[in-house]
């Protein structure tokens, strides 16, 4: 049901520009207005999100320690998993953000004959996520080829690396394949694994399908539809130099691609996709485990009703006296 709703939503999103961009007059809407709105929404939305998080205090230092603390000098501190200083935190975060360290740790509860529970590694989620996120990033960077007048030198280099397998014509980019593969795995997991099917919401299927839509329209344009790349570049350059023009010869499928990207940008700050920014702020990961060494300040440390020693002694003085215990007041 939830899957079905998401699918319909994405199909509608593809349908709108396919039909709409053929209607004269609406091209400007799909080619210029919506992309501008989308970029604006994304930038403002994400900034607001991150600023909001950043504004909220972190009352306690609640690092999740995944390794040996720093204590006695002869005990090896695991500064990556239980960092005691900023450098440690930096590397821990780097591992987390760039290589998804925690997902790498993922185990699967399983049983072997015997029966013994074993907790074997489960790297599928990690591999698929990594493939997806990295490919997405590389593909995004590759797109600068059409965003910028002067193509920076590293982009052709990146492209030749990406296409080094030299398969097909146009040469197949590995990241295109990896992106789709990653997305497929992430999507299938949600359908095949009963646990995941159970926890998945519309908000989980929808972005996956949306990105699959983006990828498929992109792949179609590059490998099959063969859009007029010159016109597209003219168009994007116009868009980015705030002098939008819509040259002739841009196919509807390009507008579909553009529209889906716009939808993603708008959806981004409203959804779980904000994890892209949130990961940097997670208090269990981005703080060092040096609690006993450096005092952490809680800006709203509350005043609470305490029970003082004096009150306590007042209540129990007699019995304490009888038990010969030392007293403040006789």
């Amino acid at each position: 049901m939830k899957l079905f709703i998401s699918l319909i939503l994405v199909l509608i999103l593809i349908g709108i520009p396919l039909i709409g961009s053929n209607v004269s007059g609406l091209v400007y809407l799909f080619g210029v207005i919506i992309p501008y709105i989308a970029i604006l929404t994304f930038v403002i939305g994400m900034s607001v999100r991150v600023l909001k998080w950043a504004k909220i205090p972190v009352p306690f230092k609640i690092t999740t320690t995944c390794g040996q603390q720093k204590s006695l000098p002869w005990i090896n501190n695991n500064n990556l998993e239980s960092p005691h200083n900023t450098a440690g935190v930096f590397w821990r975060m780097a591992l987390e953000v760039l290589f998804f360290r925690s997902l790498f740790r993922n185990t699967r509860t399983g049983l072997k004959e015997g029966p013994k529970i074993v907790y074997g590694p489960d790297k599928i989620l990690w591999a698929a996520s990594l493939a997806f996120h990295w490919s997405f990033l590389v593909i995004f960077i590759r797109h600068f080829k059409i965003f910028l007048q002067e193509v920076p030198q590293f982009i052709p280099l990146l492209e030749s690396l990406d296409g080094f397998m030299q398969i097909g014509l146009p040469i197949l980019f590995m990241t295109d394949a990896a992106l789709l593969l990653g997305l497929t795995v992430l999507f299938l997991r949600r359908i095949v694994d009963p646990k995941l099917r159970y926890i998945s919401l519309v908000a989980d299927y929808f972005p996956l399908l949306l990105i699959i839509g983006i990828a498929l329209t992109g792949v179609w344009m590059r490998y099959f539809g063969k859009v007029d790349i010159i016109s597209v570049k003219q168009f994007t350059l116009g868009l980015f130099s705030f002098q939008p023009i819509i040259p002739d010869g841009i196919s509807a499928i390009f507008f579909a691609h553009l529209f889906l990207v716009s939808a993603l940008l708008i959806y981004f700050p409203l959804s779980k996709l904000v994890h892209f920014g949130g990961i940097f702020l997670s208090p269990t990961r981005n703080m060092s485990n040096n609690n006993r060494e450096v005092r952490h300040i809680n800006p709203w440390n509350p005043k609470v009703k305490l029970h003082t020693y004096e009150e306590w002694e007042d209540e129990f003085r007699d019995v304490m006296k009888a038990a010969d215990m030392p007293l403040e007041k006789e």
């Binding site: 699967r108 509860t109 399983g110 049983l111 004959e113 029966p115 529970i117 095949v192 694994d193 009963p194 646990k195 159970y198």
Partner: protein
Amino acid sequence: MKLIEKLRAEKAGIIEDWQKLIFNSYLEDGSIFFKSQQNKFQNPVGHTISNRLVTIFERLLESSDMDLIRTDLDDIIHIRSVQDFSPSEAIGFTLGLKGIIRSRLSSFLKNKSEFDELTAFENRIDHLSLLAFDLYVGCREKIYEIKANEVKRKYFKLLDRSGFIDPERADGK
């Protein structure tokens, strides 16, 4: 014993029905997980139950000696005794085997001799149920014994000092 041979032939189907029956006794959503066995989601509960049912059924076919079944059945009963079941629900799966066999072998059960054989086999299932009952009660008794021990442990020194714990058994057990 033609029936035993027939049951052997039908083993896979019968066990499958039997496993289904026991998993269906779990919270609807929970049973999805216990049931999905083929490396999708495995778990101590689901695995113990699936595996032990196979062994139990095989042993039932071989002999009426319940001692051979005791440990396997106990593993299942241990788990079910701490889950959300009334006693009859916890051990009812043993009797459920009868219905499964009758429906699986309906075409085979035609005349009296076959029914006689079936009755004999169902006797074994009755014994299985009685054993399950014993084991279940044993588990529940154990639970209350453990609970009592837990309280004693908590106030071990207090009881000790008050003379409630015999010095001969100073470990409080």
